[in-house]
Amino acid sequence: MAFDSPPVGDLQSMPALLARNVRKFGARPAYREKEFGIWQSWTWIETAEEIRAMALGLLALGLERGDHVAVIGRNRPAHYWSMVAVQMCGAVPVPLYQDAVAEEMAYVLDHCGARFVICGDQEQVDKVIEVQEHIHHIDQVIYTDKRGMRKYDHGHLNWLHDIQAEGRAGHTRFDEELDRRIAELDYDSTCVMLYTSGTTGKPKGVVLSNRNIIETSKNSATFDHLKEREEILAYLPMAWVGDFIFSMGQAFWSGFCVNCPESPDTMMTDLREIGPTYYFAPPRIFETQLTSVMIRMEDAGKFKKRLFDKYMAVARRVGPAILDGKPVSGMDKFRYWLGNIFVYGPLKNTLGFSRVRVGYTAGEAIGPEIFDFYRSLGINLKQLYGQTEASVFITQQPDGQVRSDTVGVPSPGVEVKIGDNGEVFYRSPGTFEEYYKNPDSTADTKDAEGWVATGDAGFFEEDTGHLRIIDRAKDVGKMADGSMFAPKYVENKLKFYPDILEAVVLGNGRDRCTAFINIDLTAVGNWAERNNIAYASYQELAGHPRVLDTIRSHVEEVNKSVALDPMLSGCQIHRFLVLHKELDADDGELTRTRKVRRNIIAEKYDDLIAALYDGSETVSTETEVTYEDGRKGSIKATLTLVDAVVQPVADKRMAAE
């Protein structure tokens, strides 16, 4: 299959797409940002002018072809613009996670050899200054938000606004050079470099070309019929490939409007005000929203609660069928119509989903109850499966074929095959060029024919052709008796309970499974309040006997459901404990995209693991924690170990064969 297919006309780069959008959609809004309580908006014409001024300013500052420019900040139009401006200069934008602590940032800045760094605010500038004690190739630091920056030494520090002003003033000097550099960009030029969060080892820089980004955007936009009238809310980390595809690639390809929230805390309000038509969120966000809806319904009056329960039952029964256009009885249609007036409509409006035409979730498995809840409300929520190396899309669910346990069929232009060991492989026009400065890893991941190993184990369902993912291929192990150990499968079932935020199942190579559980402070805290249970801290609540009881009942429910699957019935949880602290990315226990890092957890809590297997009733431990500003402290706790009832697995031996 020829992936070096010729591009459509001369649309070979983001700047070229920008120029086309100015011609085609000139007066339509391209970006909005809420500031000072008002949505400020920029048309494509205004956007192009801003970006050009930035690019000219960067040239004036001495940005060279092939330089790497790190962009660290929250989702703001200026940050998206700066990435295009960097591309115009022939340099490579490298968006980074803004919540990374200085030492994590140091590794990435050092690895990509960034000469320029664009920071959102003082906090990011401080981190970069700290990093500069060790690495010395950073030439210029640029910041967007001026607050608190007055007293800094501005020798190599610039306000983005000043750079634009300088660019505008000096445009006659740099116009020609800038146009030359823009014209040099083609399908093979690097569009962006994104660092993978890395569940194991150091982050790797994934180099994505214009071909990767534009072809993927084109295919996926066609798949879901995205047009210039879509509205999206850009709130997920800019360093994540999904945000780059949705807020840059697809937005530039389709010409739709990207809306940036006022601050991370106002995201829900902003979502409601914008009412996006195209929406993406990881399962966690849907879970949090559902939890908060349920908590508020618990606190609502009797009448409202009854109305909600009655019509949600109707929605659960017929909602998904109506959404998929399957036949339902006239009476049910009428009931659903009433429910829409009383419950679903207002609820969707409150959640900001009134206008969602296409919604996606990915990254982790989503609980069937959660998934069905949104779909039954009439929200077209679908799943996709992807990764940074694929420019997101590997498989996705077409309209009308949506289920919670599959991730859909291969996306347009993507080939997928299953390896002998069950691992999923793919190749596509979105397949990354290479890992930056890491040919070994590149060769390990991508073979000569362009097939990329995903590291996930999965299989295609025979009747539907949909892909199902079981677990990370390397996490799938064997129990002592040889039966299959797939921790994520069980963890996901646990996490579908609102009380459980995170779970880590242990047991690879052992005779039985155990688990660490993190409670969800919002849900459990609210429950505690309603039941008059006083608590002073997370730790105290997590250790409360009644909380442990509740969690045990959840674990036992999960055991029942796991026992039904003959292949995985060995993964029932015999014992568990509720951790005294939340697993946190700052402590290295989760990745920045909140995936569990098993090795680090196993190492850090080896005393707890030992206690889970040696039969003791309680265990005392001390754990190091990292605060948001990078300082370290420690928590001491005594944890209770709880036994859970497991179901008999008489047919286990058979299944293992």
Binding site: F36, G37, G148
Partner: protein, 273 residues
């Protein structure tokens, strides 16, 4: 005339402190037979952060009430911006450019954050009550201008997410921040903070300290504050007045005050023969 003035000076972190903004001359305050403040003099320079500290019942809050015009001193003079201040009502003092927050939060609990901060601009609204009620012509324009100023404060204090939330529902630390916002809305020359950190946890204290420093830095607002948390006082303030039993027992930079024997005695206690 100005015998107490130390003139302009530069702080340890390099900020230029201007001339005397407010001067208290020999202030005595009596409630019947009780002497709350006894013959105290000190000054506040433009652009500085000035702390008033002392054990419980030392007369700190009374002092702040004298500055804000809530109490009228029995003896002594208050000089503000180079002129002796005549006896005034608190709202007149406010119009002069002095704003304050309260030890026990004094917000309108049922009103939103936005509306509460908006009330801070009351003294600046020119259109009459009828025009405002009709929301017509000049009043409408005026409200937009004030709203813009309030939105800048909301942005500054990072409370966008609670803009429309009734303040009664907010946690204590945020209510304190809203109160600071309301005081800032009056664009004061001198900002009085009565125990801005009382009852806060460490994280909230750090946030509040950051905002106080930022206010001083960004707007150049002179700040006088009362605070119990010694760590906070010593970190924040440029100069400190120490009071005990209504008398001034120390005045100077945090380091000077920390090493003052009389201050140490007042805080740690000494045996009386």
């Amino acid at each position: 005339m100005n015998d107490m003035s130390q003139g302009n000076y530069t702080t340890a972190d390099g900020r230029k402190i201007g001339s005397v903004l407010m001067e208290m001359k020999n202030i005595t305050l009596r409630f019947g037979g009780v002497v709350a403040i006894k013959d105290i003099s000190f000054d506040i320079h433009e652009g500085e952060i000035r702390a008033i500290i002392g054990p419980n019942g030392a007369g700190k809050s009374s002092m702040l009430n004298v500055i804000s015009g809530f109490y009228v001193p029995s003896e002594g003079e208050v000089w503000f911006r180079g002129a002796k201040r005549p006896q005034m009502r608190p709202y007149q003092v406010a119009q002069q450019g002095i704003a304050r927050t309260f030890q026990n939060i004094a917000l309108f609990k049922g009103m939103s954050t936005l509306d509460n901060i908006m009330t801070g601009r009351m003294t600046m609204m020119k259109s009459g009550m009828a025009a405002q009620a009709m929301w017509w012509g000049k009043a409408e324009r005026e409200e937009s201008e004030h709203r813009e100023a309030v939105e800048k404060i909301i942005d500054f204090l990072e409370i966008q997410a609670i803009r429309k939330t009734p303040v009664g529902r907010l946690p204590y630390g945020l209510q304190k921040r809203v109160e600071l916002g309301r005081a800032l809305a009056a664009e004061p020359k001198l900002l009085l903070l009565d125990e801005p950190m009382a009852g806060m946890n460490v994280e909230e204290k750090e946030d509040m300290s950051r905002f106080i420093l930022d206010v001083n830095d960004e707007f150049g607002t002179t700040i006088a504050l009362i605070e119990h948390d010694m760590g906070v006082v010593m970190d924040l303030s440029d100069r400190v007045v120490v009071m005990d039993y209504g008398k001034k027992i120390g005045d100077g930079t945090p380091d000077e005050v920390r090493n003052n024997q009389e201050v140490i005695d007042a805080y740690l206690g000494v045996s009386h023969d």
